[in-house]
């Protein structure tokens, strides 16, 4: 199983020897502990449940403490628990610690996270509608316009683009190149931007589509 839970630390830039600048996102990924495993026989699918971060035992429910006991994490249960799907015959011991060294520089990863919330937004911002003219008699600026036909079909199409809540969506960015790894601080340097603000929780998985440059 290859994959980690992490938090976005921030963005910066890296210079290579020739002076080329690469924009990177710094992710504090892992160490993650295997809390539980799912098997085809018992659960109908195979996966591992992985925990990241630490919480004080007094702030955690008894149920969660009990759940983490087998992995030896009941005195400091993880802050975040997520599942990663595994191959059928793959076995991982409970309590196994996963770190950034499972990734290498120049590898490609997919990163999932929750985008920044934008609140209730109009169609111009939310769907890039053109809006109306500000001058020459305008009077119809930033509005959605017609939402459909007349007595037939006498309703608005499903999924019609209207104003509404924007952001806070779960999004995955694919094929991001790993530029560098810092084992000491558990840092992963990934080329480009990732969803969400600093401190947001991210899932790092090997790239599904792109395996080599």
């Amino acid at each position: 199983m290859k994959g980690l839970i992490g938090k976005k630390v921030g963005m910066t830039q890296l210079y290579d020897e020739t002076g080329k600048v690469t924009p990177v996102t710094v992710i504090q990924a892992g160490p993650c502990t295997v809390i539980d495993t799912m098997t085809d026989e018992g659960n109908g699918y195979s996966a591992v449940q992985v925990g990241y971060g630490e919480k004080k035992a007094k702030n955690v429910s008894k149920a969660l403490k009990g759940h983490c006991k087998k992995a030896g994490k009941d005195s400091n249960p993880p802050e975040i628990i997520k599942e990663f799907r595994t191959e059928k015959d793959e076995k991982l011991e409970l309590g196994t610690v996963l770190t950034v060294d499972q990734f290498k520089a120049n590898e490609f990863v997919d990163i999932s996270g929750v985008t920044k919330g934008k609140g209730f937004q109009g169609v111009v911002r939310r769907y890039k509608f053109a809006g109306g003219r500000a001058s020459h008699g305008g009077g119809w600026v930033r509005r959605p316009g017609s939402s459909g036909n007349r007595t037939w079909p006498a309703k608005v199409d499903r999924n019609k683009r209207r104003p509404g809540h924007m952001g806070s969506d779960s999004r995955t960015v694919q094929n991001l190149q790993v530029m560098r790894i810092d084992k000491e601080d558990n840092l992963l340097f990934v080329k480009g931007a990732v969803p969400g603000g600093n401190g947001g929780v991210l899932l790092v998985r090997p790239a599904k589509k792109k395996t080599s440059a």
Partner: protein, 115 residues
């Protein structure tokens, strides 16, 4: 977690270059890579602005060459900068010397700081 970004950026920043201020006249040697050969190219000019923090820091040099004003922006911590020589210290009262762009000839000079 907050200290991590500072640590990451600090590790990348160059410490071998001399400290200078806006108004100073610098000679910057940059590495030019032409195919397989590498050579140094020098550019002399007055620092008219400094911007950015940490690894993003940059500065702008201005000089008059062949009758036209030339400005070059350098990233402060780029490995392409081979060497910086401070030729003159300038005495200025502001952080950005954009007013030099509107001046020609003797008026476009910066007062010498003296020692």
């Amino acid at each position: 977690m907050s200290g991590i970004m500072e640590k990451v950026n600090k590790a990348q920043c160059r410490t071998d270059l001399p400290a200078f201020n806006v108004g100073d006249t610098l000679k910057v040697y940059s590495k030019i890579i032409e195919g397989k050969t590498e050579r140094l190219q020098a550019f002399t000019g007055t620092v008219i602005s400094k911007g950015g923090v940490g690894i993003n820091e940059s500065f702008t040099l201005r000089r008059i060459a062949f009758g036209t004003g030339i400005e070059r922006v350098y990233p402060m911590h780029s490995p392409r900068i081979a060497k910086i020589e401070i030729q003159k210290k300038g005495d200025v009262r502001r952080a950005k010397l954009y007013y030099l762009r509107d001046r020609v000839g003797k008026a476009a000079r910066v007062k010498d700081k003296g020692n």
